[in-house]
């Protein structure tokens, strides 16, 4: 009973300490099964959200720190060494026990393990690897493992992590050198990028040779904090674009800066900018799936509009492409129409092989008609002249007042 109480105490501290990392994906792992075998766990490439907390975020993995003792003093971080928070440290065996217990109860699909920096980068990375090794080798755990990679750790240790983990991540946190110097004095853009490069190399090598041991098959991701410093969306999106290009990152996560207890004066103590974060995710999705470039979504410095989504914003400033005739346009251009997603675009193309597209088909495909109306032509429909002015249109399609203060 005492042991359980201790574990509960530690868990409450080390889950609280880990929640500011927003990544929760459990997707992208290769197919693994434990059917009829010893061991535990399966993956099939699809992620599962086993629960949602009242902040609306998904719980797919047990997301904890091995310890929240930390030598670094990153101003935005609740675990910085000057922060007056309770501290705790799990043994690797305790993390293994929790992971297997939660997994059997079907509460999670795996583990996302990170840590404060203790003793040295190498020592910390070794500890993380030890947990993953115990799970994979002693317990034959085939569920999902995401390991945080410590930027300054020896490349050998990163290579070892890649053999056990499905996903690795190095958080860039702040996209400019200037912000890192000011807010995270122990971190450097160059070592963060070196670690990303090491992971990318590992992935490339594993893919090149059929018999090579697997290396982080679900790839790598990173996180940028939004609103802890003055960096604008344009810088954030251009940084994301180059990370996708240079290191083939699977995902960039955007984390609206949440106020932390005993907040230092260097970072804001304000409600997290959730709507701004939402617009960044939308823009990121347009870059990953729709072929938009950062420079198309934001042509100069500044932030994405909050009152309309980035695809609508792009369409309003590029009216020369519209209206688009759904019966003849290229599929890629159809997907750029506000209110019509990639899936609907594909379905429209399939449908128009059978018949002429009519406006009611958009209703049936559950497209957002209000948004699409000014931008499409169908067999029986043409937008009226009233839609000519972009500024009037924007007012009409705006989603209303921007985010309210939360307290």
């Amino acid at each position: 009973m005492v042991i359980v109480m201790q574990l509960i105490e530690k868990l409450s501290v080390l889950a609280d300490a880990a929640k500011y990392d927003v990544s929760c994906a459990s997707s992208g792992a290769p197919k693994r099964s434990s059917k009829g075998r010893s061991g535990l766990g399966a993956t099939d490439g699809m992620g599962i959200c086993h629960s949602f907390t009242p902040d609306g975020r998904c719980v797919a993995l047990l997301k904890i720190l091995l310890t929240n003792f930390c030598l670094y003093d990153c101003q935005y971080c609740v675990n910085r060494r000057s922060s007056d928070v309770p501290r705790a440290r799990f043994t690797p065996e305790e993390v293994v026990t929790l992971t297997l217990d939660f997994y059997r109860r079907n509460c999670i699909s795996g583990l996302f393990l990170s840590s404060g920096i203790i003793r040295s980068a190498d020592y910390t990375m070794e500890q993380l690897n030890r947990v993953a090794k115990l799970l994979r080798e002693e317990h034959e755990f085939r569920g999902y493992i995401h390991l945080k990679t410590i930027p300054d750790a020896d490349p050998q240790l990163i290579a070892e992590a890649g053999r056990y983990a499905d996903r690795l991540s190095v958080n860039i946190e702040l996209p400019t050198e200037a912000s890192l110097i000011r807010l995270a004095p122990e971190k450097q853009v160059v070592t963060i990028k070196q670690a990303m490069h090491a992971i990318h190399e590992g992935e490339t090598e594993a893919k090149a040779e059929k018999r090579a041991p697997r290396f982080a098959p679900a790839g790598q991701s990173t996180q940028m904090i939004v609103g802890a410093d003055a960096t604008d969306d344009s810088t954030i999106l251009h940084t994301a674009q180059s990370l996708y290009g240079d290191f083939r990152l699977r995902r960039v996560y955007y984390s609206a800066f949440s106020p932390i207890p005993h907040s230092p004066k260097t970072v804001p103590f304000e409600a997290p900018p959730l709507l701004r974060e939402h617009r960044l995710y939308q823009a990121d999705f347009l870059m990953r799936s729709y072929g938009f470039k950062a420079g198309e979504l934001l042509t100069g410095p500044g932030n994405l509009p909050l009152d309309i989504d980035p695809k609508l914003a792009w369409a309003l400033s590029n009216r020369e492409h519209f209206p688009v005739d759904l019966n003849s346009a290229e599929p890629a251009l159809i997907a750029r129409i506000p209110g019509i997603g990639i899936l609907s675009a594909k379905r429209l193309v399939a449908l128009r092989r059978q018949k002429r597209i009519r406006f009611e088909d958009l209703t049936r495909l559950r497209c957002s008609l209000e948004k699409a109306k000014p931008f499409v032509i169908t067999q029986d429909y043409r937008p009226s002249l009233a839609y000519r002015e972009s500024s009037a249109l924007r007012q009409q399609l705006s989603e209303g007042p921007v985010q309210m203060g939360l307290w």
């Binding site: 929640k19 997290p272 379905r347 049936r364 495909l365």
Partner: protein, 276 residues
């Protein structure tokens, strides 16, 4: 109106539908009666005259898979929609399968709902360890909105390795003995009791985790309810915590991201390296 009675399962429907198709009986002449369902007032057993001579019917395999999935959707007209689509495709009208079509749109909406409900089961089902020596290692009680248990359950055989487990629902149940899947409909009372009793115990660690990983400064009830519909809360160990955490967040805990049980404990600053 021709009343067609069958066992209420997809294979039974398929047999009956093939027969009707061969006899050239159009969908608007058919009333489907699953199991011992009562028929409509104007039903009769007199088959209308076949409209055209029968010829062998070729149905794409993928359409059958789609129909089988849609057949899991609980609704009064589930079998008549399927027959209407089958009929139209058999007559060469491929649009009946497409999302842009009136029937196709309904078919795909049902398939989507079924997939989502299977996903709900994979996500929100909770196993509890069973202490009773003659029972399986784990048991779960789940209340699906559609008939998805048999298609959703094999997922857990992949996850649970050599463990045996039981999933009981208000209608049916599956037991995996480590080797073979046993299906029972209706759910045996003893299985139901085993699953519901097991549910009541434990999960303290999981509840602790749930509470601590929640960020009160990001409270967002709408997104939570869209993703985790309220009907699932009562069977989740963390369910009772949800309203508590929401009201505490609104009453002031929303100030910053920290969990309350952590905030009340003494903190510890760490010396700068080299200055200790």
């Amino acid at each position: 109106m021709l009343q067609v009675r069958f066992d209420g399962r997809f294979d039974g429907w398929r047999e009956a539908a093939r027969d009707l198709l061969l006899r050239g009986i159009a969908p608007h002449h058919v009333e489907w009666l699953a199991g011992d369902e009562a028929g409509g007032l104007f039903g009769g057993h007199v088959a209308p005259e076949p409209i055209e001579p029968s010829s062998p019917v070729r149905i794409p395999r993928q359409l059958l898979a789609e129909l089988e999935t849609a057949a899991r959707f609980r609704t009064a007209d589930r079998w008549s929609l399927l027959y209407r689509i089958l009929w139209r495709v058999a007559k060469g009208d491929q649009t009946a399968r497409l999302v842009g079509d009136v029937d196709g749109s309904e078919l795909h909406a049902r398939i989507k709902t079924i997939r989502r409900e299977m996903h709900h089961l994979h996500a929100f089902l909770r196993f509890s360890p069973i202490t009773c020596p003659s029972g399986p290692d784990y048991a779960a009680w789940f209340e699906p909105a559609h008939d998805i248990l048999t298609s959703a359950a094999p997922h857990f055989a992949e996850r649970m390795g050599l463990h045996s487990w039981l999933i009981a629902t208000p209608d049916d149940a599956v037991l995996w003995d480590g080797d073979v899947m046993h299906y029972a409909s209706p759910c045996p009372a003893i299985w139901r009791q085993l699953a519901q009793t097991a549910q009541e115990s434990g999960a303290e660690l999981w509840k602790t985790y749930y509470e601590s990983t929640f960020n009160p400064s990001r409270l967002n009830r709408d997104v939570l309810q869209n993703n985790l519909p309220v009907r699932f809360w009562k069977n989740l160990p963390e369910g009772p915590l949800i309203p508590q955490l929401m009201s505490r967040a609104r009453a002031g805990a929303q100030r910053d991201g920290q969990a309350e049980r952590v905030a009340t404990r003494p903190g510890k600053r760490i010396e700068r390296p080299g200055q200790a």
